[in-house]
């Protein structure tokens, strides 16, 4: 079983390397340069992919948080924690690349626009979530408390997604979905293919990081067990 898991991890890793290079090839060479924005538009492909994976990661946290509240289980608690950590990483990337995009398109690093503000709130919620998990005390209490934070955070995800539609911002364009005013114009087929390829690659990276995180947590558990065994031997 362990060998099979190791094989899957290795296979994923060696699949990810060419996929990342292919994604970069599609972004920088294959996809056309957008007429109005020029080269900085290419930030969009990985910016959107990272935002998607951050949402996926937080939905995973939400799912395990609900299950933790229903019936506390260390496995759910661990899976939620790993997913939250990855989610914070990808939200950080989304925020930073968004700021760079903002500087190139709007000539400002930051503006209190609904999408940006709600994303920042989401980031703060999950950073707080990670801090709650590090508190001292019984794991069950921490699991339940952090699960509440996890659920509050996941409620914010659709708000972040819908922010540009609900508050009708002029800065963040609605690229997909027609929206209230049929705003979503879509993108050129090569651009769409590049975007979907990047999303797939980053989602695979998320799966790889999740597996790696779970493996590390299993090792941590084994260390704890070995330590207890050593203490018992010393005491006996």
């Amino acid at each position: 079983m362990k060998q099979k898991s190791g094989f899957i991890d290795t296979a994923m890793f060696y699949l990810l390397i060419p996929m990342v290079f292919a994604a970069l090839y599609f972004v920088f060479i294959w996809s056309p340069v957008e007429k109005f924005m020029g080269a900085p538009q290419k930030i969009f492909y990985f910016h959107v992919s990272c935002a998607w994976v951050a949402f996926l990661a937080f939905f995973t946290v939400g799912y395990y948080s609900v299950r933790t509240l229903i019936k506390p289980n260390i496995k759910f608690h661990i899976h939620a924690g790993i997913s939250a950590e990855i989610g914070v990483l990808f939200t950080t990337i989304t925020l930073l690349t968004g700021m760079i995009w903002g500087k190139s398109s709007w000539n400002t690093w930051w503006t209190w626009e609904p999408r940006l503000a709600t994303t920042l709130i989401l980031w703060f919620i999950y950073v707080a979530y990670l801090f709650v998990r590090r508190m001292e005390g019984s794991w069950e209490k921490i699991a339940k408390l952090s699960a509440v934070f996890g659920i509050i955070g996941v409620i914010n995800v659709p708000i972040v997604f819908m922010a540009i539609r609900w508050w009708n911002t002029k800065l963040h364009p609605v690229v997909f979905g027609d929206g209230k005013n049929q705003d979503g114009g879509g993108i050129e087929p090569p651009m769409l293919f590049t975007l979907l390829f990047c999303i797939f690659t980053i989602t695979l990276l998320y799966a790889y990081l999740m597996r790696k995180g779970i493996e590390i947590e299993k090792m941590r558990h084994a260390v704890k067990k070995a330590k207890n065994k050593a203490i018992n031997r010393l005491a006996g």
């Binding site: 930030i43 990272c50 930073l96 590390i216």
Partner: protein, 43 residues
Amino acid sequence: MTYLFLAYSIIWTLIAGYIVILGKRQKALKKELQLLDEWNTEQ
């Protein structure tokens, strides 16, 4: 072009950094586990 370069540098530095951190965590735990196992079997 500077913004594009800056954005992609940030993306890959953070992802690579996180993978390195995970690798370090795993390595440290592996070492600790090995030492504990050796100690437990020696006794």
